[in-house]
């Protein structure tokens, strides 16, 4: 009985660990492969997407691009990177917009639209499915 419960505990633990890392692994924050930007911490990435920073830590303009409101990848990104739910992000931007302090990032439809914009402008930073990462982009945050 004891061995069984121990094993099931271990298995449960493994599944939990795996599922957490699998969830994180779904979203990769990327910039152009030609960009000089290097890896970011969650706080640095969060600051860029929340409009608190307009440049990369190492220098150079940073233009964040969101995926569509309500999309799973967007909610995942903000939960994991900024620790904010979709409603919190919306309330945050409402405060900023309606105090005249700024505007939220432009929205595009999906990961390939993000990559297209990145290809056209090396200052763009976006988040895409990890499976969509290819040679045109460089991952600056994924865990």
């Amino acid at each position: 009985m004891r061995i069984l419960s121990n094993t099931s505990c271990v298995i449960a633990g493994l599944v939990l660990a795996l599922s957490t890392s699998l969830a994180l692994a779904d979203v990769a924050v990327v910039v152009s492969a030609k960009s000089a930007a290097s890896t970011l911490t969650a706080a640095q990435a969060s600051d860029i997407f929340l409009g608190k920073a307009s440049a990369f830590p190492g220098g150079g303009q940073a233009i964040p691009i969101d995926q569509n409101e309500g999309s799973a990848i967007r909610d995942e990104f903000y939960t994991k990177v900024a620790n904010k739910s979709a409603a919190q992000v919306k309330a945050y931007w409402s405060k900023i917009i309606f105090s005249g302090k700024g505007q939220p990032p432009k929205e595009v439809a999906d990961s390939s639209a993000v990559k297209k914009l990145i290809a056209d402008n090396p200052n763009v930073i976006g988040y895409i499915d990890k499976a969509a990462v290819d040679g045109s982009v460089k991952v600056v945050f994924a865990n």
Binding site: I63, A87, Q88, K90, K95, F98, S99, K106, L117, V124
Partner: protein
């Protein structure tokens, strides 16, 4: 020469992202956005009104059983990015206001120039940033409660000024700092007259670090009040004071004149000091502010504060608030020693008038609120809130329009509101 210039120009254009694609990442010049609240309030106290702002002529309780005007409002704004440094904004808000209408009022109309990423200047009608949520005061969607706690927000009711401000933002490591100074004039209308701030100015500083936001602010206002209902009282004091002095009743006379001077409606120097903090690690938050109001004339000194705690569970955010406001009450009298009957009666009636006006301008109250916010949609929320108000110390609390003989005690207020943004 021209050929060389052409070559340079062409080279410059070719290294620039092609205009069409650059537009995709750039924001369009004009953006229209709006916000609103539809709310209803019921107050258990039918001897006085519960209002949403000092500018509303009436409210829930005495005037209406269910009042839709207390919290309902609609705001729209147009923002324009003329160049990457020059932008402008116009915001108008419609809500129940002084003339019992809901005509939209121009809240902001200003131009902003971003000199550097850190330094910006605004000119025009700008927000008067007295308190923590002053800059998005009317946007229910951006706040946890149905309305910012009235104990502290009512004393800072003037929401904009015409003038300018300068803001300096900096980031040192993980700490963001925003310092701001403003200067301007403002006019706001009441049901009974007008308030003019000529001038108003202030400074504030906000520090953001991790889950923390801390803000300190100072606002100065030099007020002229135009309140036709109070002018007869002041004229009476002056007339009686002069007459009493002329006939040799110097004590009565000089005291009456002193009151006329002390309670004049012009050139009132008001100082508001405030400190606010918000701790929001994600699943829950704690938010609080304290303010010290140093008044003049009928506006007595006041201390106020609140603390709000909220917890996020899925789409629900229940919250609880404790708030208080305490006015340092002043009581006046005119000596009638040695004064003949008629003079004494006149003096007593005038000092009673001064005291009842002082009571009207005072508010001491403690309140406990509990509510829940439900983010049922991506752009809207529903809030239900219960407030239990306890008026104290010979004031009407935060209620107004009291019927004669009204004594404020405990009041239950139930409110429901839907906030939305578009």
């Amino acid at each position: 020469m021209p050929k060389k210039l052409t070559a340079i120009a062409l080279a410059a254009i070719s290294t620039y992202p092609v205009i069409g694609l650059a537009d995709d990442t750039e924001k369009s010049m004009f953006a229209f956005k709006g916000f609103g609240t539809v709310g209803v309030v019921h107050s258990s106290e039918d001897g006085a009104d519960f209002k949403g702002t000092v500018f509303q002529p009436n409210g829930a309780g005495r005037t209406r059983e269910w009042d839709w005007g207390v919290d309902s409002k609609l705001g729209g704004q147009v923002s324009a990015n003329f160049t990457d440094k020059l932008s402008g904004i116009i915001q108008a808000v419609a809500q129940h206001q002084f003339d019992n209408s809901s005509r939209p009022l121009l809240e902001w109309a200003n131009l902003k120039y971003q000199f550097t990423p850190e330094l910006s200047v605004r000119v025009g009608r700008i927000v008067l940033p007295s308190l923590l949520v002053s800059e998005s005061r009317f946007v229910g969607y951006a706040q946890p409660w149905i309305r910012p706690p009235e104990e502290i927000y009512f004393a800072s009711s003037i929401t904009n000024s015409d003038g300018g401000d300068i803001t300096y933002q900096s980031q040192i490591g993980e700490v963001g700092n925003t310092a701001q100074a403003f200067f301007g004039t403002s006019t706001a209308k009441l049901a009974t007259g007008k308030i003019e701030a000529k001038p108003t100015w202030g400074i504030n500083d906000t520090i953001e670090f991790d889950s923390w936001t801390v803000r300190a602010a100072y606002v100065f206002l030099n007020l002229d009040l135009e309140l036709s209902s109070i002018e007869p009282l002041l004229n009476g004091l002056t007339t009686l004071g002069n007459a009493a002095t002329t006939f040799g009743f110097t004590e009565t006379g000089s005291q009456a004149l002193k009151l006329a001077d002390r309670y004049g409606l012009e050139d009132l120097d008001i100082h508001i000091f405030s400190l606010g903090a918000n701790y929001d690690p994600g699943n829950w938050f704690l938010m609080g502010e304290v303010a010290r109001f140093l008044g003049d004339g009928f506006l007595q000194d006041q201390n106020s504060g609140y603390i709000t705690a909220g917890y996020r569970i899925e789409k629900f955010t229940p919250y609880v608030t404790f708030a208080m406001v305490d006015t340092e009450r002043v009581d006046e009298s005119i000596s009638t020693v040695g004064a003949p009957g008629a003079l004494a009666t006149g003096a007593n009636s005038l000092s009673a008038g001064v005291n009842s006006t002082l009571k009207n301008f005072a508010s001491s109250q403690k309140s406990f609120s509990v509510g829940v916010r439900w983010d049922f949609s991506r752009s809207a929320d529903l809030k239900i809130q219960y407030d239990r108000l306890s008026a104290e110390e010979d004031t009407y609390g935060r209620l107004s329009n009291a019927e004669p003989g009204f004594v404020a005690d405990k009041t239950n207020v139930i409110s429901a509101a839907i906030d939305f943004v578009f």
